[in-house]
């Protein structure tokens, strides 16, 4: 039997994680994501899972990575300042192909900024925050139901591609309460065990755009896992240019070459639209309201919501705006995803409607800009 609840986005993330099979959470208290840790502390023991509050966010992600190599599905949740601290271990997880989920309930930034107010100002950090060339996956929920659904999906994508997956939400969605339906069963992607035995298995042997099965520590495979550039055995091979190039290209290509399978956008009224409003996360809700109002006033406006933000859904966006000449990007920062949209739509007139301060765009602000751009 599916069940309905009236809960916060944060609580929905925690429930999504548990439904997806997460049995390990390590975290550190931070507003506005703390309810996720609190719910995991409450619910995980009921399922035999472990919760631990660590000494900082660096340690939290370290513990998650350790638990994942120990055979668990693991997650942590944080907000801007903690996300900054986690960057070191995000890079380690990428390099060691450790599947895990990080929820970032974004707040006003930089620095400690606005703990109880929302922003979308970590979107580029999600993509580029750790040093080096790499790819991750990031999803952006706009509703409490999506917090649940996207967290489940994040776990599945993490296992499929052996990559950290980020749920990039914000204070508004994290703290807002809505009705959600939790299905009786969700589709779960399990971690793959190698078919080969320990004698012949090479833990990092994979197709040039793929990844490999991943046994757990204690399974007898006696693996050496390192953040150094490594060969197919997992052994450090850090001074070999070819080894490095092969590894890092593969880590990027296993995501880049599968962008079409990973990415999703939501479209409304795009077919005949002359102007497209593109958004994601909380302000996508304001954008949709504005677009519906514009249609009532016979302005040919369309709406795109990015459900996947990274890898960037280039092809989907290009296809969706093929008939429109103008695109407005609505985001709660001073321009981040805007530059990506500009990059992928060189022939279109792309404008930004930024907003910072902690509150989401008001539909009339977007409506005014639609009218401005329509002239």
């Amino acid at each position: 039997m599916s069940e309905q609840f009236f809960i916060q986005g944060n609580e929905a993330c925690a429930r999504g994680a548990i439904e997806a099979g997460c049995r390990f959470f390590a975290g550190y208290p931070i507003t506005p994501s703390t309810e996720i840790a609190e719910d995991m502390a409450l619910f995980l023991p009921k399922k035999g899972g472990s919760f631990i509050q660590m000494e900082d966010e660096i340690a939290a992600l370290g513990a998650v990575i350790g638990a994942v190599w120990g055979g668990q599905k693991g997650m942590t949740a944080t907000s801007g300042p903690g996300f900054s601290l986690m960057q070191e271990h995000i890079g380690f997880a990428v390099m060691t192909e450790t599947p895990l989920v990080i929820v970032n309930m974004q707040r006003g930034s930089p620095s400690t900024g606005q703990p109880t107010m929302a922003s979308q100002s970590d979107m580029m950090q999600a993509k580029w925050g750790s040093h080096g060339d790499y790819e991750i996956i990031a999803l952006s929920p706009s509703s409490v139901q999506e917090c649940f659904d996207f967290t489940v999906e994040a776990f599945n994508l993490a296992e499929k591609y052996r990559v950290p997956v980020m749920v990039m939400s914000d204070e508004i969605v994290g703290h807002m309460r809505e009705k959600i339906t939790i299905p009786e069963e969700v589709e779960i992607t399990y971690r793959q065990m190698p078919e080969e035995g320990p004698e012949t298995f090479l833990p990092f042997k994979a197709p040039s755009d793929g990844t490999s099965p991943m046994p757990a520590f204690g399974d007898g495979y006696k693996m050496h896992i390192t953040g150094l550039t490594h060969d197919e055995k997992g052994y450090p091979d850090a001074s070999n240019p070819e080894s490095h190039s092969k590894l890092v290209n593969r880590l990027c290509n296993k995501i880049r070459k599968h962008t079409d399978e990973i990415t999703r956008i939501k479209e409304e009224f795009t077919e005949d639209a002359e102007i497209i409003v593109l958004s994601y996360g909380a302000p996508a809700r304001s954008a949709l309201t504005a677009v519906k109002n514009a249609r009532k006033q016979e302005v040919k406006a369309g709406f795109i919501k990015l459900e996947t933000v990274w890898p960037f859904p280039k092809k989907l966006i290009k296809d969706a705006v093929v008939n429109a000449q103008k695109v407005m990007v609505v985001e709660m920062n001073l321009g981040q995803i805007f530059y990506e949209v500009e990059r992928v739509l060189p022939d279109k007139e792309v404008e930004l409607l930024p907003k910072i301060g902690g509150e989401m765009h008001i539909p009339t602000e977007i409506m005014d800009k639609i009218k401005d751009m329509s002239h």
């Binding site: 309460r177 009705k179 809700r285």
Partner: protein, 182 residues
């Protein structure tokens, strides 16, 4: 039909729980859509507190309240901050023990406001003997005064939102609040 509700007061009045219960009643028991949001300062106790609930039979895109149809003010500061957002012809519910009523009268007249008085804390103390149930009294008052949710849904939501064992007292508080509608 979309209804925007705002409740403002100070921390400790149970305002946020009231918002949650109303949202829950609409979403889980009246089969409507509802979104509840809130804002608060860094203080754990005291300070300004506000919750907003949007209830609609359609999908709710924009989840915040700009121009409420219903405004419940439980503190003078809350009233002063948000009164002018209330829609013309909207419903204003105040706790007369907290708010200087005479200053309101010109606004009410000018904007064709339906004004209701709900002394929720006094009712909680005098009728139930428990100050802590003031927010449940408030839910009772809002439910009957505005009819934005059904009374049956509200009672169910109250019963499942309060600590086990306290359902009876809280439902009494709800009735006491409803009776304030006159």
């Amino acid at each position: 039909m979309r209804k925007d509700i705002r409740i403002a007061g100070f921390g400790g009045q149970g305002i946020i729980l009231a918002g949650i219960v109303i949202g829950k009643a609409a979403a889980l028991h009246d089969n409507l859509n509802a979104v509840q949001t809130q804002s608060y300062g860094p203080e754990a106790r005291g300070g300004a507190s506000k919750t907003e609930i949007v209830i609609s039979d359609e999908l709710i895109d924009y989840p915040k309240v700009q121009k409420p149809d219903i405004f419940v003010a439980l503190s003078q500061a809350g009233l002063d901050a948000y009164l002018h957002d209330l829609k013309d012809g909207g419903i204003l519910i105040i706790d007369p023990d907290m708010i200087k009523e005479e200053e309101l009268l010109s606004f009410v007249k000018e904007h064709n406001t339906k004004l209701y008085k709900a002394p929720v804390t006094r009712t909680a103390v005098e009728k139930i003997g428990l100050k802590i149930v003031a927010n449940i009294v408030m839910i009772g008052a809002i439910t009957r005064m505005t009819k934005v949710i059904s009374e049956e849904a509200a009672r169910q939501a109250v019963a499942e939102s309060v600590p086990p064992g306290t359902e009876k007292k809280n439902l009494e508080a709800f009735e006491a609040g409803a009776e304030l509608a006159g």
